[in-house]
Symmetry: C2
Subunit: 443 residues, 2 copies
């Protein structure tokens, strides 16, 4: 059972003073929230074919796990060729569970992982060198099969694989993950070259796809316990059966942001401890920004709304954003996440030359220092009247991460329903794609 504390008290007046919500405000939107809850669960995305059903989709899980098992032992590097929703979820989980210095210590039994989501020529050339064809598995991911960056990388790497290892080698080392759809260029390529191919379910959009093969397959290649990840998500799913915000933390989370947005708070800060949760921050930013930043509501009325997400990493950004969070305008809702414990921890002995000034750190562990700094930051924020929600997973493991992923996906979907917007599309990005394609001579 995931043991995660989700504490909303730092958003309410009892703790915050006059800048906080009062319970009456929450009550006032309860019927609205109930309606949003009911509408949401009529959406196809919440059925067994949508993101909500992924934790129990054994067939999809097995397709990933079996293919990963087949490839086991044949690679020292996993290269994910994908961008945005095709990569952020994988990276969030891998970083959180494997640690931020993992690649530097990887060895034969612990393959390294890379995400190709950039275009800098020298960095791409580096990957060529670091992850050579005969020691790597490449996973190209794009739901539509139309992503320009991914296509460029795929062109480069598939040509090289074929050149160096022949068609058979290409088949063994390149896996495509895409929607199985006739007009999809990646699917067409996979068919033509008889490549292994895993499916992105039609109803699962990029930023909600981490628990589909998009995230699960490359994670399985790294030996991550994907079953625990899914179990954590499924355990969370049980928490959203009710529209009572006191029992449904995702709905409560959405309602708090809804109420603060009405008071002019247009910024959401995700303040995550420690560096290994940075990837989770990037994933959250995409989920929140793409789902909630919309020009039109579902009825077609112009609304131009959205909460701007800011991802911060503690303790580093105590020395950066915190000054603004404490003293600046009342325009944010802050979510802090820190692990309750680290195993194994690391204890400190303070040498004589630092005793004066820092003697109190003797016998403390780094995990304790982290927790004290996170809690100190939380309390300072609340004392300054800044709305702050705190989330403390007992520790960072696959089950707890799965729980958190599902929590945030559901909370995002709830907030979109409260606003009457579509959490699952992204019509605004087409224009930029069209212009850049035209600049490159495409149609």
């Amino acid at each position: 059972m995931p043991r995660i504390t989700i504490d909303f008290s730092g958003a309410y007046a009892e703790q915050l003073g006059v800048t906080g919500l009062i319970l009456r405000e929450l009550k006032a939107v309860e019927s609205k929230a109930k309606a949003a809850h009911n509408r949401l669960f009529e959406r196809p995305e919440m059925t067994q074919d949508g993101f909500f059903g992924l934790p129990k989709n054994g067939e999809l899980l097995n397709s990933s796990v079996q293919l990963a098992r087949k490839l086991k032992g044949s690679y020292e590097n996993v290269v994910v060729i994908g961008i945005g929703g095709s990569a952020n979820g994988f990276k969030a989980v891998a970083d959180a569970l494997l640690g931020s210095n993992y690649n530097l210590k990887a060895n034969k039994n612990r393959p390294r992982y890379f995400v190709l989501d950039y275009l800098d020529p020298s960095a791409i050339r580096d990957i060529f060198e670091i992850a050579p064809p005969n020691k790597s598995v490449y996973v190209a991911i794009s739901k539509s099969g139309k992503t320009q960056e991914t296509a460029a990388h795929l062109a480069l790497f598939s040509s090289r694989l074929q050149r160096e290892l022949g068609r058979q080698g290409l088949r063994e080392r390149l896996v495509i993950i895409t929607e199985l759809e006739r007009e999809n260029p990646f699917q067409r390529m996979a068919e033509k070259l008889e490549l292994r191919c895993l499916e992105v379910p039609p109803l699962v959009g990029g930023r909600y796809s981490v628990l589909s093969p998009v995230g699960i397959f490359p994670l399985a290649l790294l030996g991550v316990n994907v079953r625990s990840l899914l179990r954590g998500a499924e355990l969370f799913n049980r928490r959203v059966r009710t529209s009572d915000p006191q029992k449904n933390p995702a709905l409560h989370y959405a309602m708090i942001h809804y109420l603060y947005y009405d008071k002019g708070h247009n910024i959401t800060v995700f303040f995550l401890y420690d560096r290994s949760l940075k990837g989770l921050g990037d994933w959250l930013v995409q989920l929140w920004a793409e789902s909630l930043g919309k020009r039109f509501d579902r009825e077609g009325s112009r609304v131009e709304l959205g909460l701007t997400p800011v991802s911060a990493v503690g303790p580093r950004d105590q020395h950066s954003l915190l000054q603004l969070l404490i003293e600046g305008p009342f325009d944010k809702v802050i979510t802090m996440i820190w692990p309750g414990s680290f195993k194994p921890d690391l204890k400190l002995t303070v040498p004589s030359w630092l005793k004066k000034g820092f003697g109190y750190l003797s016998g403390k562990s780094f995990g304790q220092i982290l927790a004290a700094e996170a809690l100190g930051t939380y309390e300072a924020l609340v004392k300054s009247g800044k709305a702050t929600i705190k989330i403390i997973p007992e520790r960072t493991d696959a089950e707890n991460i799965g729980f958190l992923l599902q929590f945030f996906m559901c909370a995002t979907a709830y907030l979109a329903e409260l606003w009457g917007i579509n959490a699952f599309d992204q019509p605004g990005v087409q224009l930029s794609k069209d212009i850049s394609r035209r600049l490159l001579g495409g149609q």
Copy 2:
């Protein structure tokens, strides 16, 4: 001579339509800007002893360069023990100039670099393993010598160095950078153990210290051309001699943000291409947030203002934040930065199996694709009425980076003067430090 295009036209009505500024608005604050300019140049921070004077402070430069030369050849790893302003500037420059996969390809002649700005016990243990005492130089940086995280790391690593290499080895491999001040614990430690010590000038605060030994010394250890970096900054300094915004881009930049803040735009987005500029984004976030987020103005009136910085990386975040930037509320000013060229670039051949759909990419280089995507994004933002400033360094080299660093430090200082707040203090972070220290049993 740095060749950098700074283009403000995407913030004005001529390009943007009704959501843009009109020149009359700029004119209306010109006298205010002139006064701010004059006030700023009376501040000690703008003298030869402040951040503004660093590019011409040959003595400080030499102290760093000479010590780096002395240590040359004795290390394969540079470990910076520092956090926030003691590390962000170094990382911004190192990442930008060395590339984001640098550590994975480093070798005897190209030392790796690490920044210890986290508390996760397993990640710290990894550094122990990856950067052992006999192959590493450790640089502990804290202006006040009172930074808790840095002290904890310093306790750990100095004990280990002494244990494994003895006092002499400790002296050879640990360098302290701090303010030379009697009550400073790091300075006291350096004296006691007779460690090498470089100075943080009293008038240079953490987030403005990248061109002091704080940034210059560890960069010199990596072989970065620090003289070019300083030359670029000095070349920028010549651009701020006038208070005419058409000739002084830092002042113009500040005025645009000042005017938009008055219209309710409370968010600043730094959208940087490509991944190697991510560190620059983190540096910008600290500079902007800590300098501009203030509860009181210089007269002591309660103002509670501040612009919240968001750092995004292209093209990745075209698949993340962009939807919100295009369709969401008019609450931001966006700055896009992308390099005009890459040398060497990397050309693409599109294989037969991707011709249909992506044939237009054949013969294009990754640098061209990046530029087209950045420009496409810029144009889409402007077409959507979103205020966007574009900055294009001809390429990413030390001189251009130095120019940009100084540009942003000056622009930040100008905006603070326009608001009448102090850009150089951070009174709001003390409370959180006090609480966490108390939680750990300190006084």
